[in-house]
Assembly symmetry: none
Homo-oligomer: 76 residues x 4
């Protein structure tokens, strides 16, 4: 009945790490997060992977997004 072991996808690892960085208060000054471009460079991945990361973080209520402005960490 147990599911076979799943390899954690890269976007999930990055999402967890970003969630930790947010929780630790790294972006507390103005809550606005690095851009897709900056994060892609930081984590050495494509922008598509970063977008998957944010899709997950948005779905779990960790960040909000709006076209034209940077994503922001949800307080609390």
């Amino acid at each position: 009945m147990s599911t076979p072991p799943q390899k954690t996808p890269l976007y999930r690892k990055i999402a967890d790490e970003l969630a930790n960085r947010i929780a630790s208060g790294e972006f507390i000054a103005d809550r606005s997060l690095p851009s897709e471009f900056e994060l892609a460079a930081q984590y050495q991945v494509s922008r598509g992977t970063i977008r998957q990361t944010f899709s997950h973080l948005r779905a779990t209520g960790v960040v909000t997004s709006r076209q034209g402005t940077r994503r922001e960490a949800v307080p609390g």
Copy 2:
């Protein structure tokens, strides 16, 4: 066989709403429309989005525009 539903962009929704307001006679007094600035405030969007809205309305023959004066509704 049918094409999937397309997400309607904001400028299109505003264009449709403005076209309805024009058709309902809201600007009938002198035909001159609110300024870009006023509409941006009314719809809580940027001036750029209002300009995309008017680009569409001009292309469909609903309004005319001239530098230095307010846009006007085309009669009929």
Copy 3:
């Protein structure tokens, strides 16, 4: 009786030049044009100005565009 000369905007000059490059067969291999980013670099303008350029070229039937792919020159 003649209208005074109008200052030609930058996006119009670029549109005319691109139309000439297309007519001269520069992009004949696969008809696909340089990206917005490349053209912005070539002409030393912002992406917004290149988009205005293409808006004009699309309106005059010189190019076609589709999300996710490069714009193409219309044959003939």
Copy 4:
């Protein structure tokens, strides 16, 4: 043969004052000047007057301007 005394126009007074502020190094950090809007508020005049001011300062080589970016003081 002497011309009658001329009242110095407001835009000229502001131009002279701004030229002095520039010469004194007030905008030396990045050379970019306050916006039309800010200067209109500072000097309690209309934006049209500020534009006349800059027209004069550009003609006399004190500032440069380019659409989309702030005016800048010319070094030296």
